[in-house]
């Protein structure tokens, strides 16, 4: 029989690995889009399998701990939040793969000028900062870093809202297919930002017993 402390420690290590895999996947996605790198875009699809396998492993570990150790209090909150964070991370990895698909399947690179105007690079930068804050919060059990993502998510939302008009204003200037993919990419990053926000809420729930979602 394994000690619950050891099980929780191992589960934390597994989720941290998931964080790092998804972070790496996301950085590859950004690199593929911003630098129109089709090789990296292809690579993302193959690393998706690893992330899916890690997601299933964490699911299974959570189920086993609940069934075998009947966790309560802080342990139960950790398992519940880990279960939800795991799924949110997998969703984010799916989005990274999805946005890189444009680069893998199309021969028209995103125009640098429109990328700049829509602030896509800034969006990726904010996303990376959010991810770093969450990893710091999770690894060191420090809720103040988790709280930092809420403001950043609002910035991402603003860039997403503004992008719609920018794309309309530029419809006649660029390849329409490229513009629509770009708008779709921005929307997807906004959704990934929402998932990061949810992860922040789960970390705070685990550490401070505060339910802040839907507030």
């Amino acid at each position: 029989m394994h000690n619950i402390e050891k099980e929780i420690f191992d589960l934390k290590s597994s989720l941290l690995k998931m964080f790092l895999l998804v972070e790496k996947q996301w950085k590859k996605g950004a690199n593929a889009i911003l630098n129109y790198d089709q090789d990296i875009a292809e690579e993302i699809s193959s690393s998706e399998n690893r992330i899916n396998a890690q997601e299933l492993k964490i699911d299974s570990d959570c189920e086993n701990i609940i069934a075998l150790h009947a966790p309560v209090a802080v342990d139960l909150r950790f398992i519940l939040s880990t279960y939800k964070i795991n799924h949110a991370l997998e969703h984010i990895a799916d989005i990274a793969e999805s946005i890189a698909q444009y680069v893998a399947n199309n021969n028209v690179p995103y125009d640098q000028k429109i990328l700049q105007e829509t602030r896509l690079t800034e969006m990726f930068d904010i996303f990376n900062i959010m991810m770093d804050c969450l990893i710091e919060a999770f690894e060191n059990e420090d809720p103040k870093f988790a709280r930092k993502v809420f403001k950043k998510d609002k910035l991402i939302n603003k860039i997403n809202t503004d992008a719609y008009q920018i794309i309309i204003d530029n419809l006649d200037k660029y390849d329409k297919n490229m513009l629509l993919y770009l708008l779709s990419t921005i929307r997807k990053i906004e959704r990934a930002g929402d998932s990061l926000k949810k992860i922040g809420e789960e970390i705070i729930y685990h550490l401070e017993v505060k339910v802040i979602k839907h507030t």
């Binding site: 000690n3 619950i4 402390e5 009947a70 309560v72 209090a73 802080v74 342990d75 017993v209």
Partner: protein, 251 residues
């Protein structure tokens, strides 16, 4: 708030050893209150204050008040026999007398001097029904209680306690000697009984406390560390020592 039972400024000594230290607690009527804590923490000593079971220990000394329905049960005008009619007790190991099932359940009534057979029959039947045992033994009431399974024996003991119509039932690890099926039956019974009785249960099984109790008190080395709704204790305990104990990180 009015409580069924109250402990006020309770200190208990066994000779020079202080077993309980300034305990203050109010027990709600028609609810199950679980007492948890490591061995030697004082939870059984505390439980036994409510039917004065500790009185038999020579070196026992009590400071403070134990109130049942606002009456201090350690006052001189309290008759212990009368008190125990009102406060039934179920022990760790089933302890039926070497008598028939009927005689076991009727025992408390008979020692009270009740002779009305019809009255006794009705009480025995009601008590066995309340103990969820009637259907299993109704055709074998003259069979020896010792021939029953462990779980059935424990329910006979519960029926024996219920037959004298107490308002409070104390349970000292009532399922620790039972298998999971018998344990589940006794737990279901406890859940039903709280509609009519106020129940205090000592248990070492954390999950049992979480499953069956409405309130949980955590004792450690004679101190009451935390007392709250069971839901709060097992999801968000306020004290670190409580959390360490219920999550198994103690010591």
């Amino acid at each position: 708030m009015k409580y069924k039972l109250e402990a006020k400024n309770i200190d208990v000594f066994y000779g020079k050893l202080k077993a309980l230290n300034n305990i203050n607690i109010g027990i709600t009527e028609n609810a199950v209150t679980a007492l948890i804590g490591p061995s030697g923490c004082g939870k059984s000593t505390f439980l036994r204050l409510f039917n004065r079971m500790n009185d038999y220990i020579d070196s026992f000394k009590l400071n403070g008040d134990i109130l049942i329905d606002d009456k201090n049960i350690y006052e001189k005008d309290v008759f212990v026999d009368e008190l125990r009619k009102n406060v039934g007790m179920v022990f760790q190991k089933p302890n039926p007398f070497p008598k028939s099932i009927f005689e076991n359940v009727a025992y408390g009534l008979k020692i009270q001097g009740i002779k009305d057979k019809e009255f006794i029959n009705t009480r025995v039947k009601d008590a066995l029904k309340q103990a969820a045992l009637w259907e299993e033994v109704k055709d074998d009431l003259n069979k020896s209680a010792l021939a029953l399974s462990g779980g059935q024996q424990q329910r006979v003991c519960i029926a024996r306690a219920l037959a004298v119509e107490p308002s409070i039932i104390l349970m000292d690890e009532p399922t620790s000697a039972l298998d999971p099926i018998a344990t589940a039956k006794v737990e279901k019974l406890i859940h039903t009984l709280k509609e009519k009785y106020t129940i205090i249960i000592v248990t070492h099984n954390m999950q049992q406390a979480a499953r069956i109790s409405d309130y949980t008190a955590f004792f450690y080395m004679g101190d009451l560390i935390e007392f709250d709704k069971t839901n709060t204790i097992f999801t968000n305990p306020k004290m670190e020592r409580t959390e360490n104990y219920i999550t198994g990180r103690f010591g």
